[in-house]
Symmetry: C2
Subunit: 159 residues, 2 copies
């Protein structure tokens, strides 16, 4: 490898601040969500993806892609959510493409109960401290990075 | 609870874009780091925290605070890293405050070998697509959110 292009001091500060914000924000959101609703942030994200679909069902590979989790993590997590009655699996014998993951009535009630408090926390910890310009700049930055991730030659597993 | 202050469409788009960027970027960085060095992003973060100290050692609670991981996750992860020879634990009998986590020679070699490739990936996927203004705005946004997290009344576990 050629000599690495290290981050300059501005980039280094921005990157560390981003990582630190992300870590602390995620930990705090998870803790407040758990305390208020019994759902983890991971449960919540799975349920959000399922409720984005009119019929509340997705194939595991669609969830994997949407959540960007490793397959084994997703599989273990869904098993635990199934045991708690938040989702169920439905076999789909006719086309041989395997099961659907389906949100249960209990899962729908759980996310409906959790959402107001969670959104309030997101607002309090994040949006209330930012200007409209900062919010617009964040959306733009995230879109730019996502476009770059789309363009970049994928690694061996074609994600 | 009062009626929730839902996110408006601008905030909703920004929040979803942020979550999506964060999820995809973390997944990709983890995959490329693993493929290039055998370290996971979690291993890397632990080793970065330890190498930030001149003597390469931290108490578990300091690592827990720095990483913002749950105590059980940290404990399991350190056990696995210890088995792989990346860190070791040192008892500290004299003051009764428990063990230190210490980076090993092998851990130092592992992060020194991984860092150039990882930084190159961060640059390629993140900084190369952003302007200096975007980088400065990100640092400011992260600092604003971190200040808010510091000010906010902590939850029951005093994090």
């Amino acid at each position: 490898m050629n000599s690495p292009r290290w981050l300059d001091p501005d980039e280094q500060r921005a990157w560390r601040a981003y990582l630190r914000m992300q870590g602390r924000l995620t930990a705090r959101l998870n803790r407040e969500l758990q305390a208020g609703s019994g759902l983890s942030l991971a449960d919540y994200e799975v349920l959000v993806h399922l409720t984005d679909r009119a019929d509340g069902r997705l194939r595991p590979f669609e969830l994997e892609r949407g959540l960007q989790w490793e397959q084994s993590r997703l599989s273990h997590h869904l098993t635990r959510m199934q045991r708690r009655g938040l989702v169920r699996r439905e076999e789909c014998a006719e086309d041989g493409r395997g099961a659907f993951v389906v949100i249960s009535e209990q899962g729908r009630r759980a996310i409906a109960a959790a959402a107001p408090g969670h959104v309030e926390t997101v607002r309090r910890l994040f949006f209330d401290g930012l200007t409209r310009d900062q919010v617009a700049a964040l959306e733009r930055l995230a879109a730019d990075v996502l476009a770059r991730l789309d363009d970049d030659t994928p690694g061996p597993d074609l994600s």
